[in-house]
């Protein structure tokens, strides 16, 4: 959200500014960089040369050029990465460099600047959630959140984003969440570690995490005059991210001194904006606690009830707890109404689950499962008449959306796209400001998003584990309570259609190819590499059911969809045959191949061919002659509008009339320059022509045009084909139960009756009538 809080940190003392630029020409100007948290390859620091005028953005471009062989570069782009380093909280204590001059580079900043008192610089300027907790409501931080809800402070400042979230506490889970959280209240203590490198207070919990090394010793860096933003990673750790327009040279000078003095171990980190906060990655064992089990139970109850109700998987993150505290919206009454008997039998209350449940309770999402809820929520957002406020984001998830998908994908949606409503909650106009976009994904609150996403995903996994036996589940948690500190839901905006985006992982690829709409607000530009790791580390115990949520390749849907037709390729050259047939096979079009005109006629005679691609110069019988012959046969048999004038007597002129209900379309392949070829082809009965060498793009156009034409001409039989398929589906489920199910649905019954009267297949007919008899 928020803010790409661009802080201009004024040096408190001129002495602290270290500007010894050694323009030693012998040293190449290079800067060491390392991908933060990238695990797919050996992640070593690498150096890049830079020029005097290079900005961070230029450097990013170079990074992509440099790393163009690895997957990382394909899933990221300039806007999704940021350069910076980790910094201990003590290095960045707000009071050490107050006054902070806030640059109103983004409307968000301005907005918050107005709405928030500046006497609390940390909260006001950077939106660091933990800082907010500390400074605003210490009780929030140190006590379970549920109690925080009652905190008078919260109600006193309802317009403050952080405060707004407090009331969410309606949920019982919230009581659990802070019990064992290490980050809770830790900020005060950790701040005292005062280490430039990774703070000791965090180190133990962070130890299994993939980032190590490359941290900068920057005790006084905060005094530097660098455009940057700060994002909390843990209570005591911050990520310092440089603004894209900051000069690399300046950064280098400020951080490392003269050129050449940076060691590889001091590499600047390249973050991608889907980084998951480290403290969320704690091993489950670290958080085991008996109190979690009960919470898990509650969660499971909720889920089970949820499952009953859900027709659509709509996930919504709550914006305003006040508004959302209403019946039907995952609030305590709902929970209270739950009957323990509703708990699914597969309920598992293991430690991991408990921990996951606890984490889940920190999420900022809310699951909406039916239209009623959606209406209420959107209404509540409409009521919230705040034009300046960032917009509410809603993820539309497909029905029966598998939890795993969310786990892998939807979180990334939120975190990876700075311009998506979720990530730019703080700023509706953010999309236009490039500099903001570039860094926005990394700014302050984003971290919170990540954190919450993380917990979110844990929970999905958790549910999955418990729901192995369920075929189609929407095992999303019912309640997503914002964290008390959270700024994610700072503001509200009317729910408008534009903001409802379909989320799918593989759209990613399409986006990259420019196939899918770039305007869709929720489409992430980059899939997060981190989620791979995440999914691995939380892989389900049974190992099954981790299938792709959507069968088939998503990208296939954006390909041209061809009509279901049968194509005959008439081509004597095996090379051209191969090219054409490979093309058709690739597009899943049925085809046959004939080597010459006579074969073409023979194949056509068998029926079922809708479209012929005919080379004209063929051995045995030319394409022209073959086309003439085919038209002649069609005429003889009265196919199409040319009514039969004479009955065929010659045996060789027999055709399979049952299979030929419409004239075949013949597309001739003509030599490019021969006008006479084209004329002759059309005269001989060809409908169209393509010049050789055949352009595959045009070929597919012709298939589409003529194929659709044929599908229209032949609509009835095409429809028959479809219904025959339906018959198969119906008769394949002859069990009593499915019959009941079918007969219970008047629609299906009706269709089945119709089918009975129309179906030519006697066997399926009898089966259907049998099925109907069995039905009560």
């Amino acid at each position: 959200m928020s803010e790409s809080s661009t802080l201009k940190l004024r040096p408190t003392s001129p002495l602290s500014v270290n500007r010894n630029v050694a323009l030693n020409s012998a040293l190449s100007w290079k800067i060491w960089l390392r991908l933060e948290d990238y695990e797919e390859s050996i992640n070593q620091a690498f150096s890049l040369q830079f020029g005097e005028l290079d900005t961070i953005d230029d450097l990013k471009t170079k990074i992509f050029e440099n790393l163009n062989t690895i997957r990382w570069s394909r899933v990221n782009d300039n806007a999704s990465i940021a350069l910076g380093f980790y910094c201990n909280r003590t290095d960045w204590e707000p009071d050490r460099f107050s006054p902070i001059q806030r640059l109103p580079t983004s409307p968000v900043n301005t907005l918050f600047g107005k709405s928030k008192p500046l006497q609390q610089p940390s909260a006001a300027s950077t939106k660091r959630s933990f800082a907010d907790n500390d400074s605003k409501s210490g009780s929030l931080n140190t006590s379970p959140r549920i109690s925080a809800s009652g905190s008078p402070k919260l109600s006193a400042v309802p317009r403050l984003p952080t405060a707004r979230y407090g009331p969410n506490i309606g949920s019982p889970f919230l009581s659990v969440q802070n019990g064992g959280v290490n980050n809770n209240g830790g900020s005060n203590g950790v701040g005292s570690t005062g280490l430039a490198r990774l703070p000791g207070g965090v180190a133990p919990t962070l130890s299994p995490l993939p980032f190590s090394g490359g941290r900068l010793a920057l005790t006084s860096w905060s005094k530097k005059d660098l455009k940057h933003s700060v994002e909390p990673v843990g209570d005591s750790l911050y990520r310092i991210l440089f603004e894209p327009d900051e000069l690399v040279l300046t950064i280098y000078n400020e951080l490392f001194g003269h050129l050449g003095s940076q060691a590889a171990s001091d590499a600047l980190l390249v973050f991608c904006n889907d980084i998951i906060p480290k403290h969320e990655m704690l091993p489950a064992s670290a958080m085991d606690g008996p109190n979690f089990a009960s919470n898990q139970l509650t969660q499971e109850l909720l889920n089970s009830q949820n499952r009953k109700r859900e027709q659509e998987g709509l996930r919504l993150d709550t914006r305003d707890p006040h508004d959302l505290l209403q019946p039907g919206l995952e609030t305590p009454p709902t929970i209270g109404a739950l009957n323990p008997g509703d708990a699914p039998p597969e309920l598992v209350l293991d430690d991991t689950a408990a921990q996951l449940a606890r984490e889940e309770s920190e999420r900022e999402f809310q699951l909406i499962t039916n239209e009623e809820q959606l209406r209420k929520v959107s209404q509540s957002m409409l009521d919230e008449d705040n034009p300046d406020s960032p917009k509410q984001a809603i993820l539309l998830l497909p029905k029966n959306f598998d939890g795993d998908v969310n786990f892998n994908e939807s979180p990334s949606k939120m975190s990876s796209r700075p311009s998506s409503p979720l990530t730019t909650v703080g700023d509706t106009s953010n999309e236009n400001t490039d500099s903001n976009i570039n860094i926005g994904g990394f700014n302050g609150d984003n971290n919170n998003i990540n954190a919450n996403i993380n917990t979110n995903t844990h929970n999905y996994k958790n549910n999955d584990n418990n729901n192995n036996s369920q075929e189609s589940q929407l095992s999303m948690p019912l309640v997503d309570r914002p964290r008390t500190d959270d700024s994610l839901m700072q503001s509200h905006a009317p729910l408008i259609e534009k903001e409802v985006g379909m989320v799918h992982p593989l759209l990613e690829n399409d986006r990259k190819k420019g196939l899918s709409s770039p305007t869709s607000p929720l489409l992430p530009r980059n899939p997060p590499p981190n989620f791979n790791r995440l999914s691995r580390s939380f892989a389900p115990k049974n190992g099954s059911s981790r299938e792709k949520p959507f069968p088939g390749e998503w990208s296939a849907t954006s390909d041209k969809v061809f009509p279901k037709i049968n194509v005959l390729i008439v081509e004597d050259n095996v090379i051209n045959q191969t090219i054409l047939s490979s093309f058709l096979r690739k597009h899943k079009i049925f085809y046959k191949v004939a080597k010459n005109g006579q074969e073409a006629i023979d194949v056509w005679r068998e029926g079922g061919i809708h479209l012929i691609f005919m080379d004209l110069q063929l051995p045995v019988l030319s394409g022209i002659d073959a086309a003439k012959k085919i038209r002649e046969l069609e005429r003889e048999h009265g196919i199409g509008i040319q009514k039969s004038r004479k009955t065929p007597h010659i045996e060789s002129n027999k055709i399979n009339k049952d299979q030929i209900n419409a004239p075949v379309i013949i597309v001739a392949f003509t030599a490019s320059k021969s006008q006479s070829d084209k004329k002759e082809a059309l005269i001989s009965g060809c409908n169209d022509y393509l010049t050789k060498p055949v352009n595959l793009h045009w070929l597919s156009n012709k298939i589409n045009e003529w194929g659709c034409m044929q599908a229209l001409i032949n609509f009835d039989s095409w429809k028959e084909g479809q219904s025959r398929m339906t018959d198969n589906v119906l008769v394949k489920a002859p069990s009593q139960r499915s019959v009941k199910a079918v007969s219970g649905n008047p629609d299906i019954k009706y269709r089945m009756n119709r089918r009975r009267s129309r179906s030519s297949s006697t066997s399926s007919q009898s089966k259907i009538s049998e099925a109907l008899r069995l039905a009560p």
């Binding site: 050259n573 090379i575 090219i579 690739k586 050789k692 060498p693 352009n695 793009h697």
Partner: protein
């Protein structure tokens, strides 16, 4: 009327379409090229044989057409161009073939009008003796083989291995 000789050996906009199908089958385009190489060699040999034995212009015409089809489909446009010449010579639609120097020079962009003096519109083109066409086809065949070698070099470079 003879079309100008294409300068580029390979029309990449065409070949790339084929190469793009490698997505599904990694060796697809390479296999196709190798298949074409064999086909071309066989066809050249057949032409050679006809030139020395039956001297059947019609047969040469269809062989020229045949190889033109596949070479053009693969974007090997200079081979296709020569094949078209063979085809037209076989049909007696053309009665000239540019000298080897002219063909060479076209590679470097010096696209001299190929022996414009000799190229006449096919309608009022004098029908020459078969032996003239056979002789020209013989020349063209030699050029076709040369072009074949050039294309082979180019493609070997592209695939990074001798084809």
């Amino acid at each position: 009327m003879m079309s100008a000789i294409p300068k580029e050996i390979i029309n990449w906009s065409i070949l790339n379409e084929i190469v793009s199908m490698d997505e599904d089958d990694p060796e697809f385009s390479k296999g196709l090229i190798i298949q074409f190489m064999e086909q071309a060699q066989t066809t050249f040999d057949k032409m050679q044989t006809i030139l020395h034995t039956t001297k059947d212009l019609g047969e040469l015409d269809s062989l020229g057409h045949f190889l033109k089809g596949s070479s053009a489909a693969l974007g090997l446009q200079r081979i296709a161009w020569v094949c078209e010449r063979i085809q037209n010579l076989g049909r007696k639609h053309e009665n000239s073939f540019p000298s080897s120097e002219v063909v060479r020079a076209s590679l470097f962009g010096n696209n001299m009008e190929p022996s414009s003096a000799a190229s006449v519109e096919s309608e009022n083109m004098p029908q020459l003796d078969d032996s003239v066409y056979l002789g020209l086809i013989g020349e063209a065949l030699q050029e076709a083989r040369n072009e074949f070698q050039l294309a082979k070099l180019e493609l070997s470079k592209y695939y990074g291995s001798p084809l």
